[in-house]
């Protein structure tokens, strides 16, 4: 199967760089699978899982918190605020931040605080979901 080069970049580092067969991202419109020679494509990504199928056919899953995917003829890049491999997720910490987000949501005084708490909750839930997806 033909491969293409994928980069996953965060402000702190280049998280992943290499040849892959396929990558599946969750866009605002639904899951999108990207293979080699995909058309030029840009989409916004909310918090969600990213599934990468490496050139040897093995699969890795990561939790991504907000970003975008950009497919150009020479490479595919995923921009992410933060991203973690499923096996690296600290489940206890994610659970704590879920509880914290729920508490904040209940105690929020205005629309803005509610919105921030909701986003934090979504990130925590995403990480918990993704950590359960690992093989």
């Amino acid at each position: 199967m033909s491969v293409f080069s994928l980069q996953i970049i965060t402000p702190e580092k280049i998280f992943f760089e290499g040849e892959v067969q396929r990558v599946i991202v969750r866009t605002t419109e639904g899951d999108v699978g990207i293979l080699a020679k995909h058309e030029k494509y840009v989409a916004a990504l909310p918090s969600g899982p990213v599934k990468v199928i490496l050139s040897d056919g093995s699969q890795r899953i990561a939790a991504l918190s907000g970003g975008a995917v950009k497919v150009s003829p020479d490479r595919t890049a995923i921009l992410a605020n933060a991203v973690e491999w499923a096996e690296d997720i600290d489940i206890d910490w994610a659970k704590r931040s879920e509880e914290d987000a729920r508490r904040r949501k209940e105690n929020s005084k205005d629309q803005q605080e509610l919105q921030f708490a909701e986003m934090k909750l979504q990130r925590a839930l995403n990480r918990l979901r993704v950590s359960g997806m690992k093989e």
């Binding site: 402000p11 702190e12 419109e29 840009v42 989409a43 975008a68 921009l79 605020n81």
Partner: protein, 288 residues
């Protein structure tokens, strides 16, 4: 008389020496912090370049592109994000950025715009502590450990305020590390997003989902967070570079003072010996 003079000089040498130990230590600490900060600033570059490239492509390629974030609004306040250090003892580092920001505040107020402030760094919040202007947020001690979440949190505050129609423009004031030897206070216009239309009219076959505008607007918080992250890290690196330089100068001056005082001390010692000798000789002469 000479003996008490010698004692005073000795004491001054001791005190300058101990000051020099401190400045030397601070110089070393700053150099190692600078190295780490520089690495962090460089790591953020690929992300930010790609983000900027994507956004400018959306803005220039999509036909009839229109976004609230690229046009200057008539109504609304100006938000100035002023990024400074957390500590002093860094030469003119903090003053320079405040001078730039204060000048901009006067300009905006002359135009009749309301100014809202957001301060990053303890020195910035101290500088604007007595202001009557509205302060949206103060973020102290974030430079060394800033995470993307902190930057995103700040960005979301700003975007939220913008979306409600309270803001017309956002400027960031920070210090750019040109080289370890020179830092420059800068002003950066963030919103309206400048120079996005690189080559307007070039149609591309890129597929945007859900739409070019939606992609662009959803990237705005990240763009803002990216700029804040980069400028805060850059300012922190500049702060360390400025402090290292200030401390190096201080150590040099201290060394110079010690040399000077040692010379004086030796002279005083010599003088007292000469005086003693003269006293002995004249005493012997009187006897003889």
């Amino acid at each position: 008389m000479a003996a008490s003079n010698m004692k005073a000089i000795k004491r001054r040498i001791k005190s300058v020496e101990s000051t020099m130990q401190i400045t030397k230590a601070m110089e070393l600490v700053s150099s190692s912090k600078l190295r780490r900060a520089k690495a962090r600033a460089e790591q953020a570059v690929p992300f930010f370049n790609l983000l900027y490239e994507t956004m400018s492509e959306v803005a220039s390629e999509a036909v009839g592109f229109h976004s609230a974030y690229t046009e200057l609004r008539e109504e609304g306040a100006a938000l100035l994000v002023v990024i400074a250090g957390d500590r002093g003892l860094a030469g003119g580092f903090n003053i320079n950025v405040f001078r730039l920001a204060d000048q901009r505040i006067r300009e905006l107020e002359a135009e009749g715009r309301e100014v809202i402030l957001m301060t990053v760094g303890k020195k910035a919040s101290e500088h604007y502590a007595k202001t009557t202007k509205r302060v949206l947020g103060t973020f102290d001690n974030v430079g060394e450990t800033i995470s993307t979440y902190t930057a995103l949190h700040m960005a979301q505050h700003i975007v939220h305020l913008f979306d409600q129609g309270h803001l017309a423009l956002v400027d960031v004031f920070f210090t750019n590390m040109v080289s370890p030897l020179s830092q420059e206070a800068r002003q950066m216009q963030v919103i309206p997003v400048p120079n996005m239309e690189l080559n307007p009219g070039v149609r591309s076959l890129t597929h945007y989902e859900p739409s070019p505008e939606a992609v662009f607007d959803s990237l705005i918080p990240q763009y803002l967070a990216g700029i804040l992250y980069c400028t805060i890290v850059d300012t922190y690196a500049s702060e360390q570079a400025a402090r290292r330089m200030a401390m190096e100068n201080a150590s040099d001056n201290a060394q110079e003072m010690i040399d000077d005082l040692s010379l004086k001390y030796n002279r005083a010692r010599q003088a007292s010996i000469t005086q003693e000798l003269t006293e002995i000789v004249s005493g012997a002469n009187a006897q003889g």
